[in-house]
Symmetry: C2
Subunit: 391 residues, 2 copies
């Protein structure tokens, strides 16, 4: 840990690479968490998060924990014992939601789909018709464990006609793919800072609609988590500035700067950048005989799951990339461990150079391990370059 810090190219499932302006904001001398300077920053962060989430929701704040704390915050605040909660389960994060619903003493109703595929909206609506009193329908917008891209709009429209809340995990999608919290009638949405926002991990942006706030206010039992109790946290971030906990000051400096960078680029431009680099990577990998593992037509732009060819050792290749290229890609989670790689192109990490770098490095790694390239070595780079030229 001494000596010159190692610079990694971070193409895993997060953290992604962080802009030097964000690193500089992190190293800014501290101010108190009730200092007028910080109170002004809190206001700015809320405005910038509303911009990123495409929402006018009053309660739009960063939770003082990582993305998983955002998931838990949504669920513990909105679920009371006995509440039915329909959860789309097609990977690690839907599975985690079911776990948390149980810890809230809610009744989880999982709607399953194979890992790598989406959960059909119609299946979720069918579960809702069977359980019209369900408190919420929860889905993972971008299933980081598989690369599947869950459609939201149709579900949101259907749920907006009901008393049931629409809860969306946007940990990996926020600022990397279209997300319209208000237009799509999303009632509770949370994210993480270390994915397409390209801020270090440590905060969880979260927004609640008025429909969700009404549920929170009507609770008959106390929220089981004091730390994540949004009825208290909203007073800390609101006009009252009522002390709750001490906000992570430096992380908020960083988040503000990361969000300013998003605004400067523009959300649509940022989404387009993520799309183009994904398409180039997909074409390059396909030309190498490595098609993406997620459902065709439902593949995320920021997280690409790739099947590992027979005879190639997962950890061996990832160690090689890290050691020889300072390049990180992710391994598989749960049942996919050892059978897929996960290549992230998130936020600052989504660049043309990184697409070509990861294809080149993978080619070197596979070639050295005797992999038989179906279209010959070099085809991947050519295909990606062609995609970049036309995209």
């Amino acid at each position: 840990m001494t000596g010159a810090p190692t610079s990694r190219v971070l193409l895993g499932p997060g953290p992604s690479n962080v802009h030097r302006r964000v690193l500089r904001a992190l190293s800014r001398p501290l101010v108190g968490h009730l200092d007028p300077i910080f109170l002004e920053l809190m206001q700015e962060i809320q405005d910038l998060l509303r911009f990123a989430f495409r929402t006018a929701n009053r309660l739009t704040i960063p939770i003082s924990g990582t993305g998983s704390a955002g998931m838990e915050a949504c669920l513990v605040n909105l679920i009371e014992p006995g509440d039915k909660v329909i959860v789309g389960v097609n990977g690690v994060f839907g599975t985690r939601m079911v776990d948390i619903v149980g810890r809230c003493r809610g009744v989880a109703i999982p709607v399953e789909a194979p890992w790598g595929e989406i959960v059909e909206p119609e299946s979720l609506l069918e579960a809702l018709r069977a359980n019209p009193d369900a408190r919420a329908v929860c889905v993972i917008h971008a299933e980081t464990s598989t690369g599947a891209w869950q459609p939201l709009q149709e579900l949101g429209e259907a749920l907006s006609q009901t008393e049931t809340l629409f809860v969306v995990d946007a940990v990996t999608s926020l600022a990397g793919a279209p997300l319209y919290v208000d237009d799509w009638h999303i009632d509770a949405c949370y994210s993480g800072t270390q994915k397409c926002l390209s801020c270090p991990p440590g905060l969880a942006p979260l927004t609640l609609s008025e429909k969700a706030m009404a549920i929170l206010r009507r609770r008959s039992s106390a929220v089981q988590s004091w730390y994540l109790d949004l009825s208290m946290i909203e007073k800390y971030w609101g006009e009252e500035r009522a002390y709750h906990h001490t906000a992570p000051v430096s992380m908020n400096f960083a988040l503000a700067e990361a969000l300013r960078l998003v605004r400067e680029e523009g959300l649509e431009a940022r989404w387009t950048r993520h799309r183009r680099h994904h398409e180039a990577l997909r074409e390059g990998l396909a030309a190498m005989g490595l098609p993406l593992a997620a459902q065709v037509g439902r593949q995320l732009w920021m997280l690409n799951s790739v099947g590992i060819p027979d005879g190639i050792d997962d950890a061996d290749v990832r160690s090689f990339l890290l050691r020889d290229y300072n390049l990180e890609i992710g391994g598989g989670l749960g049942p996919l461990q050892g059978s897929v790689w996960r290549i992230g192109l998130m936020g600052e990490s989504s660049t043309k150079a990184n697409v070509l770098l990861v294809l080149t490095a993978l080619e070197r790694a596979l070639k050295a391990r005797g992999y038989d390239f179906p279209a010959g070595a070099g085809a991947g780079i050519e295909a990606a370059a062609a995609s970049l030229a036309t995209g």
Copy 2:
């Protein structure tokens, strides 16, 4: 928020000022949270925390949230529904513990003392004799809301003879005052990073004894918080490195550096520094007619509560100090709002220069507001300087 960053002298209840080496560590380019570099850092942080807590406990880690998340982590993991929990209540943080025990569906048995005084160990032991089946006795080592310093040793010795756990909030005391987790038989202890460790807020160091781990392993119900479930978190920080959440990488860089600074100074030397500067401040304030508000003989070294003189407006003076001197001191919390100031001398902020600065600035503020100095203006500085010369 644009332009040159404002540098504050942070003499409130935290955050304290952060060493430039820690700020530099924060701005280090990121690595992945499963990168070998980060795994090595996790090991180093655990070793350094064991050093700071004076413990050999295996489970000694930073929780990915602020000090309050540390409190919640201890309680949700160790308490099951129906468990009796004896809590010393003499300020904001004991009150908060009672609140959290209720959210865990435990039965809180508060043992109260006036704010500013300690909770007599004998009163807590009496409550234990009346409730010998209590799961835990919980106290706040350094009650940041009042400045009272709770003695621990006698309680720890008594509890070590029982099945009851000893839970200690060391948010404000760790690395600023003597704390011996193992020698004092403390079973669960947590802290915050932004007090005497002089790291930004955002992590909560925590350690559990084997006696506490046995309780955790014997639970018949799931821990109600997924995010704070130590049975999973220990696998992430342990040999398995099993993915749980994404650790706040940059904050952990900072914590490691802050802990290295503690080790370089030495714990005893650091405690002595906190004592000397507290004594000088106390003498200076007394000479200005501003005695400390907490119980005599039980006053914390790192957090000094001072009664606000009649006719002096709390917020007016604090705004003046911030505006004219870039100097932050804290206001009172809860029932003490408006009636006390809280002057922190924590970590990097505990310096001779800061003692003299805060006395000088307070003198200017009070003089301009017509305060009648009992020993004449200048007596405070003289008394503090004399204390520093002899201390």
